[in-house]
Symmetry: C2
Subunit: 356 residues, 2 copies
């Protein structure tokens, strides 16, 4: 009997490229967001996301949901990594992840297509571990579960949401007991000590129809606005352009709030895969290759008696003497200087600039 059954549809990677990435100012900016920068390797994080599944059996070419203003840069970067069959959904405005994923689900040819939803601006160093987790999630996904991948926490991070894992559903997939907002340090330490908690990395696997059904139930306004905008879609070459005003009318919400925290049959597969959201200059320093003095330097840098610094120059020569634990970034007309360990405070600069 099995020989006459149609093959199950391939997994469609959905790469979300909506983030503005102000936490890596001045390198990332609205016109050049983090995911399009070659920060961690000689390829951009978007390119690394594409390569995670490129040419792999069981996966289609990806669908990239992006801000329309980045279309040209994304097409160039796709060509650079030889990905010629990807499609782009171009959002006229950002409406957060729940609507973006709805567009992708609506664009899938076969409603049974499993969507592998990935942010475009994260790094995964152990890709085989990721694929093992995907493989172990697939049976639940085919059974219409909404699966999220939870990152095994390495420290009591206060910058991420957590997921409490409930009962075991399969070898390593758990029911989600509950989602936990970004905790304070004490709560984070408690969760780490207790175990059963993983970081919410925003990586999901579910059938297109299962997601749309859950969205229709839990946030009908998003479902309807996204659907209407795709009924009036324009296709131009590899670009899929939802109707602008209809999509702009869509409420903005994250998939976590709009769907995952409310839906039934939500599972979590824990995975330890060298994941980072590269969410700060400190995170980037931790990821990058460092020399014997602990410095990660890119560009024309002279570091003398200097230790544990992250230095990035797109142009000017940076000479540092006798300094430790600094983050220095020079790009365009901007130079940022701040201590390591405080890199979330880059926000103070971007806020001061807005007030100018």
């Amino acid at each position: 009997v099995t020989s006459t059954e149609p093959d199950p549809p391939h997994i469609l990677p959905v790469i979300l490229s909506g983030g503005a990435g102000t936490r890596l100012w001045p390198l990332s900016r609205p016109e050049m967001p983090k995911q399009l920068l070659a920060l961690t390797a000689d390829k951009s994080m978007m390119q690394l996301a594409v390569e995670r599944t490129h040419g792999r059996a069981g996966f289609s070419s990806p669908l990239i949901v992006a801000n329309a203003r980045h279309a040209n840069m994304i097409e160039e970067q796709l060509a650079e990594v030889g990905e010629n069959n990807a499609k782009l959904i171009l959002e006229p405005v950002g409406r957060n992840t729940a609507p973006a994923i709805a567009l992708a689900a609506l664009a899938a040819q076969d409603p049974a297509t499993p969507l592998l939803v990935m942010p475009s601006d994260h790094v995964i160093t152990d890709v085989p571990a990721f694929h093992a987790a995907i493989a172990s999630a697939l049976p639940l996904v085919r059974d219409r579960w909404l699966v999220t991948f939870g990152i095994t926490p390495s420290h009591p991070e206060t910058g991420y949401g957590y997921i409490k894992m409930g009962e075991l559903l399969t070898d390593n997939a758990h029911c989600v007991d509950r989602f936990v907002e970004k905790p304070d340090a004490t709560t984070a330490e408690g969760m780490l000590a207790e175990g059963d908690y993983v970081w919410n990395a925003g990586i999901f696997l579910f059938r297109a129809d299962a997601y749309l059904a859950a969205l229709a139930i839990h946030d009908a306004a998003i479902f309807e606005a996204a659907s209407h905008s795709m009924e009036a879609v324009i296709e131009q070459g590899r670009c899929i352009i939802p109707e602008s005003a209809l999509f702009a009318a869509c409420p903005a919400d994250s998939i976590d709030y709009a769907v995952m925290e409310k839906a039934e049959r939500v599972a979590v597969v824990p995975v330890d895969m060298g994941w980072s959201d590269v969410g700060s200059w400190d995170a980037l320093h931790a990821l990058k290759h460092r020399d014997e003095a602990g410095n990660a330097c890119q560009g024309d840098v002279i570091a003398i008696d200097t230790r544990n610094c992250l230095v990035h120059s797109d142009g000017p020569r940076i000479a540092m003497v006798d300094v430790d634990d600094l983050i220095v970034v020079a790009t365009g007309n901007d130079i940022l200087i701040m201590p390591r360990g405080r890199s979330q405070d880059v926000r103070k600069v971007t806020e001061a600039l807005k007030k100018r």
Copy 2:
């Protein structure tokens, strides 16, 4: 009888503009030395030196001894401060201060002219105190003494030479007991405790003929090479150009080594006049106006939760968050970052650059 005596010749300010000023790299460079930069005020230190005597009774317009490559910049800066009668002696190469002052002494119309020799790259905030010291030195100068002005030391600085003052010659001029090389910290503290020691600031007052006579005795080679180069001098407008090959053949030496440490009748007038040689970024930070947080910022600077920094930008916007006690200088294609208190280590950078 006094009414028929000729007036004594006016004092001729001799401003030495030969320094390369690598200690303020990257702002000062061979093509733009420290004295031509507006570092401490809206005028350059050379302009401030000119203004110290400009239009003052008893003083001629100055004679500036400079590297020929800086002639145009100096002429522009003289015009900016309305000094239209200054003359320039253009050295084809630098041969240190003893030859430079010899050129000036040889250029003086009247051998009895008192020369007020001043480096072009120092700051004096209490100019009236300086003029009082000059006035008190003049009787000795007319009597052919070589007078140096000694700065009342404020701290046991190891970066300057010292002068031990001997017996009192007049109200406040002393014989020089001896010159002391740059001391180590213990020696400097000892001299400060003992009293009778002043900093050697390289500021002198003597008759042209008295200097030349002492030079002829104590370093005849310099005297002769300088004299020969001036016998074949070319005058172009306000510029006096000693013969190039003859001057290049002159030995290089400082006035201290060549003359002052050896000559008879050397006096020192101590003076407390807010003097600084602006010899480092730290010295500049100490001189500059600082805001409530102790920051001295010039250019487009955003300093948030930042204290006691010196920040200078000629172009790019510099954003600093959560940092203390840094020196940051951005100019042209260079950015320098180093801690306050260690600014002599800029040398490590300029040496590393030479090796490139």
